[in-house]
């Protein structure tokens, strides 16, 4: 341990009084809570726009408005499955790392990145073929804003995964130390489940 222990204070104060050193260290781990709060506040962003979409829907006599079509639900389902599947592979990757099976971890992460990219491609295809425009109707406003925001998150997630992959090739993460990966996986799951809601909102409901 290369830390200046004399500056830590547990020799003098706690460590044998109010808290054990283990408890103290557990208490001081701020990163996970910080990341969780970030995800929470990010989810509010989506929640606000989902509320807006529902509000616009309730104000419209018919939904989607006349002359506007929803995206193709069948292709949408396939696309959604790509993203949901990437959640599974991301999960596998995390497990492989915890089990010290680095090769498995790398392959599953690559699979996640590919599936995520395919999803983005599918979104682009949908954007190109949908009979609605961003500025044309309230449906378009809600649809493109929310899916665009989500697509941006997926894009950031793909970049994030690539970065963690490169980092892990350089040996940054070990089965014991992998907070960055935990965060990336959680973020990816978060992006996944947002799509569960959006898929229902725009394709089914």
């Amino acid at each position: 341990m290369t830390v200046h222990t004399e500056a830590l204070g547990h020799e003098h104060g706690h460590g044998h009084g109010i808290m054990t050193q283990e408890e103290y260290i557990e208490q001081r781990d701020t990163r996970f809570l910080g990341f969780l709060l970030f995800l929470f506040t990010d989810s509010i962003f989506f929640t606000a726009y989902i509320f807006a979409a529902l509000y616009l829907r309730s104000a419209a006599p018919v939904w989607p408005p006349v002359g506007v079509e929803r995206p193709d639900v069948n292709l949408g389902a396939v696309n959604a499955i790509l993203l949901f599947g990437s959640g599974i592979t991301a999960h596998y990757a995390m497990h492989r790392l915890k089990e010290s099976r680095i090769a498995g971890y790398i392959w599953f992460t690559i699979a996640t990145i590919i599936l995520g990219s395919l999803f983005l491609g599918g979104q682009a295809y949908e954007y190109a073929h949908i009979h609605a425009t961003w500025s044309g109707s309230s449906f378009g406003a809600a649809f493109f804003t929310l899916t665009g925001l989500h697509g941006f998150h997926v894009f950031v997630g793909v970049i994030y995964l690539i970065v963690t992959l490169l980092q892990s090739l350089g040996g940054t993460y070990t089965p014991e130390r992998h907070f960055g990966l935990t965060a990336a996986t959680l973020y990816w799951h978060f992006v996944d489940v947002i799509w569960v809601v959006l898929f229902f909102l725009f394709y089914i409901y």
Binding site: A60, P61, V62, P65, V66, G67, V68, S137
Partner: protein, 338 residues
């Protein structure tokens, strides 16, 4: 302090709000009574908080002869007291809430035999439309005394607000939405109609005058405004849809209906839905009910008005439409329907 509070309450009770700002509309809403009630309980709260602060500040002030490290009594709380000042305000708020709720629902209650007037906000003037008057006008307008009024308000551009301080009621004029304001003018006089919602650079001068006058004066003003209406109503007979003329219908549409309706697809909403293809578009759910609408259905809606989840439309009388106007409009709508 109780004495001071009591004096304040008595002062409030005899303070003539009506002289400071006269109520010129029926006060059955009880807005002033509610306001006074709030002042009644506000007075003791204010007096007691400030009184105790001042009293404690004098009574317990650190004196020079006390040691520098003197401290106050070690009092961490008194549970019964804390319960009291949680429960009592809560009860007070319940009373106030119930009173406010009752008053609130009274505000939304339409009165029988009400005069339907429409007010449309523009940057930066009020447009008024009366039943039986062919055209709308801007600026000063008249209301008869003691007759209930239902003011249908909306806006043509941005959010405005309709407020006559002496009437005590105010609602926003929201584009794409019609709101109804119910009141009965009870005092003859001239009152300002003010826009209170910021609406652009002309907001400060967006004022006009509402003249509350006797029924006789109102009739005189109204007949003066009426002019052409007499001729139109003379020729009005039973509704004869076959006699509708497309070009005349178009003229009326542009003059009146176009304020709220686009001649475009159903979803092209202004205030009401777009009316193109009204005979063939399945999107007009209230017209269709499964079967294609007939000219009689459409004429019925124009004549009787509409009120439902896609908005509120005044009836033919309120819109100043004669039977022949309705027939012309139906003919025009039919010509526009594919």
């Amino acid at each position: 302090m109780a004495a001071i509070s009591a004096i304040l309450i008595v002062l409030i009770a005899i303070w003539p709000i009506n002289n400071t700002l006269a109520v010129a509309a029926t006060s059955d809403y009880g807005i002033d009574a509610l306001f006074k009630f709030m002042l009644y309980f506000a007075a003791p709260i204010f007096v007691f908080v400030n009184g105790y602060v001042l009293y404690f500040a004098r009574r317990y002030k650190h004196r020079r002869d006390e040691p520098a490290d003197a401290v106050g009594i070690p009092l961490y709380g008194v549970v019964p007291l804390e319960i009291w000042w949680t429960v009592l305000p809560a009860l007070l708020m319940v009373v106030l809430g119930i009173w406010s709720a009752v008053t609130l629902f009274g505000l939304y209650k339409p009165q029988a035999g009400a005069l339907n007037v429409e007010a449309i906000g523009h940057q930066w003037k009020f447009e008024l439309r009366y039943p039986g008057l062919k055209s709308s006008f801007y600026g000063d307008f008249y209301l008869p005394i003691d007759r209930p009024v239902t003011m249908n308000i909306t806006s043509a551009d941005v959010v405005h607000s309709f407020w006559v301080p002496q009437f005590r009621v105010k609602l926003d004029m929201v584009p794409g939405m019609v709101q109804q304001l119910h009141f009965t003018p009870t005092q003859i006089g001239n009152y300002p109609l003010v826009c209170t919602e910021f609406c652009g650079i002309g907001h400060g001068d967006m004022r006009t005058t509402v003249h509350v006058v006797s029924q006789a004066d109102y009739d005189k003003w109204f007949s003066g405004e009426q002019q052409q209406v007499a001729a139109a109503s003379a020729s009005a007979g039973a509704l004869n849809l076959a006699a509708g003329v497309v070009s005349k219908g178009q003229a009326i549409f542009e003059q009146k209906c176009a304020v709220c309706h686009n001649m475009a697809g159903f979803a092209q909403k202004k205030v009401g839905p777009g009316l193109q293809n009204i005979f063939s578009d399945p999107a007009h759910p209230k017209l269709v009910d499964g079967s294609a609408p007939t000219p009689e259905d459409v004429a019925g809606i124009i004549e009787k008005g509409y009120s439902g989840d896609i908005g509120v439309m005044p009836n033919a009388q309120a819109n100043g439409l004669s039977s022949s106007d309705v027939a012309n409009l139906v003919a025009y709508l039919k010509s526009q329907s594919k």
